[in-house]
């Protein structure tokens, strides 16, 4: 089944990912792509605590994720890949690297960002990067949970 959801979410693994999406997708593994979490056993343990034991959690750096993306896409189980920012997404999707669709699930307020949706705040630079990815053929929509309507990129950038 491979990766059913590529999600940008600055909370990384949390309830919406594990329960909101994980249940209806019947996800059997979750890949968390984040360089700082990858290098910290304490942080990994924190994120693992929120996941039922029958779901595998894989922690990867951005570089490792680029190398293993095709392996995860061939996995017969259903997976979710989550990362915390658009730069990580851009690195994963660079050179047509296999990311064809992206769910913007939660990017929250920070200095320099403005509200685009209730759960999506973007700087102008981040909006430009998303549009560039869309121009490369990546389908980008915003949707916090599966029961809401996916919002097309042009409606929030």
């Amino acid at each position: 089944m491979s990766i059913a959801l590529y999600r940008v979410d600055d909370r990384l693994i949390h309830g919406q990912v594990v329960v909101g999406w994980g249940k209806p997708l019947n996800a059997r593994f979750i890949v968390l792509v984040d360089d700082s979490v990858r290098s910290s056993d304490q942080e990994q343990e924190l994120y693992r605590m929120g996941v039922p034991p029958d779901i595998e959690v894989v922690f990867a750096s951005t570089a490792e994720a680029r190398q293993r993306l095709s392996e995860w896409e061939r996995d017969p189980r259903t997976g979710i890949l989550v990362f915390g920012d658009i730069d990580t997404l851009a690195a994963l999707a660079a050179n047509g690297h296999g990311v064809s669709r992206v769910n913007v699930g939660g990017l929250h307020h920070r200095p320099g960002r403005s509200e685009r949706l209730r759960y999506v705040y973007l700087s102008d630079g981040e909006a430009v990067k998303l549009k560039a990815l869309a121009a490369q053929g990546v389908e980008v929509t915003a949707q916090d949970v599966p029961t809401t309507r996916p919002v097309p990129l042009e409606d929030f950038t």
């Binding site: 909370r11 949390h14 605590m49 929120g50 939660g106 929250h108 307020h109 209730r118």
Partner: protein
């Protein structure tokens, strides 16, 4: 006597506020707990909310789920500190016990609260 513990309820949506309201309605104690919601927060913003709620006092953080953003921010804040402890699976029973045992050390209060909360989970015969 040392300063009584502050309880900070850390939750999704309005669960924390609702629990605080219920504790006050049942006990009349309305100065022991502070609600914090993760609404609209990334981990940095939630940590700021928690820091304000703790207000440099000894505290127990009552987190709704044993995973997710409420937990990760709470544990990061408590890491390496003896004046802040974390309990997950907050319920009304543990809070009702906590507000009357705020003179304990944070870790002891957290353990006591966890036991009180666990005792409240039953499957009574109908």
């Amino acid at each position: 006597m040392s300063e009584p513990l502050r309880g900070v309820i850390v939750s999704h949506a309005a669960v924390a506020q609702a629990l605080l309201t219920a504790v006050a309605a049942i006990t009349g104690v309305n100065d022991a707990l502070v609600p914090v919601s993760n609404d609209g927060c990334d981990s940095g913003a939630l940590t700021e909310r928690l820091t304000r709620a703790i207000d440099a006092r000894p505290a127990v953080l009552f987190v709704d789920l044993p995973g997710g953003s409420c937990l990760t921010s709470s544990v990061r804040l408590a890491r390496g500190r003896t004046d802040v402890a974390v309990v997950t699976g907050v319920n009304l029973a543990m809070l009702l016990d906590f507000v009357f045992h705020r003179d304990l050390a944070p870790a002891d209060a957290a353990r006591r609260a966890a036991e009180a909360g666990s005792r409240a989970i039953r499957t009574p015969a109908a």
